[in-house]
Symmetry: C2
């Protein structure tokens, strides 16, 4: 049993200038904290989230009567908590929900205070850099000048990397898991198909579907199905589902189950699984948030303003790094982490790197794997806490 | 300049029983032939097509005045023709369009002669085995008992393989390019997302959109975009498009082009390319055909009725084989071709195998590559013509 977490919110009345040139006049950030900030405020660890996660990183939620809500564990509960690799008995851990999200921080589902209309498609495009700036303001308000570590997986890892560039003096360690220095053309392509599925759903209404009392669920389902395929490895999909028929599961196994010969009904288990994932996602995720977050992924590219040289981009980084990648991750392949490692070594930075032989594809960064958790634990014990 | 090809059609009045238990009461097959059938009818080569191709395999089309129509080359024109690897001065080559297609052979866009209604979603599910049976009847009518070779890439390769199982005495050689003994869970998953995009398009109307005077173009666009990503390799996408901005192409290059910061407009070149491919496809391809053909892919699995053993499934094959795969093909990876090679070797069959180091992913089987074309040429010269 994990500890009980409490979601918090902080209002920011001062405008936040954004990379696009737009600005948010005021905003709220949802966050959670675990553990205690020490006297000299040197033990804070900021956790940055990826596409569909939130500030609820670890612990469980309780209802009004103090009863633990089943399946309410935070998304990195295996990693963070008392006695866990990022030990909340030692570190003060902060989870923060990013701007543009649909899980509490100001986003497209909320009203623009300047117009009193729901933002919808008018919510400004936000970038990894904008998120980091907003996170820095939260730290200011919490009285934290310097992070012991900033840590994230996937898109969260991009934020951790960006912290070391935007605020080199405020980060001692960056832990970048299953991430990349930018998206490949294929990554962007998958994001774009998902976005097109959402935008061309007749219920999207140019992003102002809230006014029409509908949700572009068809598009969200397709987007999630595409995403889900890319989070898993071919191997793990074959192992979990293979060519197993849906019907065969219901029946007592044995003899060969005949095909149903259908183009629209479910025939294979993998189809059932993907449809279920798509349906579930379309019930809780906001379509405009999906567009915003995938665009933040597309846009991240620190080497871009340095003639494409990541080495030059990372020249003024001061943090020490741990990078972790997973062998079967074809979305953010180990080679992409190695690009970051190389650029840091080119600059004589202190960098540790672990390539974990895991079968689960990109999803591995969220799963329990002793070697992976052991690497992070060892880094926090020997380097961050040192 | 290639030769001029002429599409032909053959009517079959006798019903075709299908694997599903349904049957087609009568049907037409579109086909083309190139070269001359020799006196003992021993030089026929049947070409089987993949997802979005047709009987127009080689040559060009001419208009009523005999003028060549630009860009009308057949889909394997690099491979087949006078003096080409499959040399039509020596072989009588037959291209045939499969049942369920939208390019001439009887399919969902045509009227069911029993009801006089357009088939639409009522067109029966067809399998690779059904296609092969229909192709065998075409050969009967052309007076061809035994094929010198049957040949295809991708789904076409599955048909070539199936020929050797269904009609072992009628095939001397099978040339199976960029294919697989069945689809993996990931392959099925991509097909399923594409199908869901089509089926959930409000203009699909359960597959009877013809009656409503609309086309489910949104779904077809998404389906094609997904497909297109899987036909290319990550490497070739990075080389062709990388992170190039659309705007930067229009402008005279030089300084860093600013992002537009948009979630719905095109920002990257790869997005523009994919949208173009999707738009083009949605103009000419039939939605029900897409469902039928992807399902034929899903269903193909000769090992299924042999307890999952491909070796047992291929025990009675008599043909000699050439298999070709491409190193960067992640849709039908070389390992899948090697499974077929191994099963053939387990049965002491005569098998040649070439793994071509090509950067283009699955698409490589349609492209001009000297080593690839050389391997096929050499096989036809030394083995098929021997």
């Amino acid at each position: 049993m994990s500890f009980v977490a409490t979601p918090l919110s902080m209002h920011f009345a001062e405008p936040l200038p954004l990379q696009s040139g737009a600005s948010l006049c005021s905003y709220d950030l949802s966050y959670e904290t675990y553990g205690e900030l020490n006297a000299d405020k040197s033990n804070a660890v900021l956790i940055c989230h990826a596409l569909n996660a939130s500030h609820h990183v670890a612990g469980v939620y309780a209802d009004a009567n103090g009863q633990v809500i089943p399946k309410s564990e935070g998304w990195w509960d295996t990693m963070i908590g008392p006695g866990k690799p990022v030990d909340t008995k030692r570190f003060f851990v902060i989870g923060v929900n990013n701007l543009g999200s649909c899980f509490g921080s100001t986003g497209p589902m909320q009203r623009n205070p300047e117009t009193n209309e729901i933002y919808g498609a008018d919510f400004p495009v936000v970038t990894v850099q904008d998120w980091v700036n907003a996170q820095a303001r939260l730290l200011d308000r919490l009285g934290i000048q310097t992070l012991a570590a900033v840590m994230g997986g996937s898109l969260g890892g991009m934020q951790a990397l960006s912290w070391t560039l935007q605020y080199p003096d405020r980060v001692r360690h960056a832990v970048v898991v299953a991430s990349a220095p930018n998206l490949t053309a294929e990554n962007i392509a998958f994001n774009e198909v998902a976005r097109r599925a959402i935008v061309t759903d007749p219920d999207f209404h140019g992003g102002h579907f809230y006014r029409h009392g509908v949700l572009p669920k068809r598009g969200l389902r397709i987007a999630r199905m595409i995403g889900h395929i890319t989070y898993l490895s071919d191997d793990v999909m074959n192992e979990k589902f293979g060519r197993q028929l849906r019907q065969a599961v219901a029946e007592s196994a044995g003899a060969e189950t005949p095909y149903k010969y259908t183009t629209q009904d479910i025939e294979f288990e993998i189809e059932s699984y993907l449809r279920y994932q798509g349906d579930k996602f379309s019930e809780y995720f906001d379509a405009n948030t999906y567009l915003l977050i995938t665009r933040a992924l597309d846009y991240f590219d620190p080497a871009r303003t340095h003639g494409g040289s990541l080495t030059k981009a990372l020249a003024h980084v001061k943090a020490k790094f741990l990078l972790v990648s997973f062998t079967t991750d074809w979305r953010f392949a180990p080679a992409r982490s190695r690009e970051i490692v190389k650029a840091l070594l080119d600059n004589q930075r202190d960098v540790s790197y672990a390539e974990i032989d895991a079968p689960h594809g990109h999803d591995a960064f969220l799963l329990e794997d002793e070697r992976y958790l052991g690497v992070v634990r060892s880094y926090f014990d020997s380097k961050v806490a040192a």
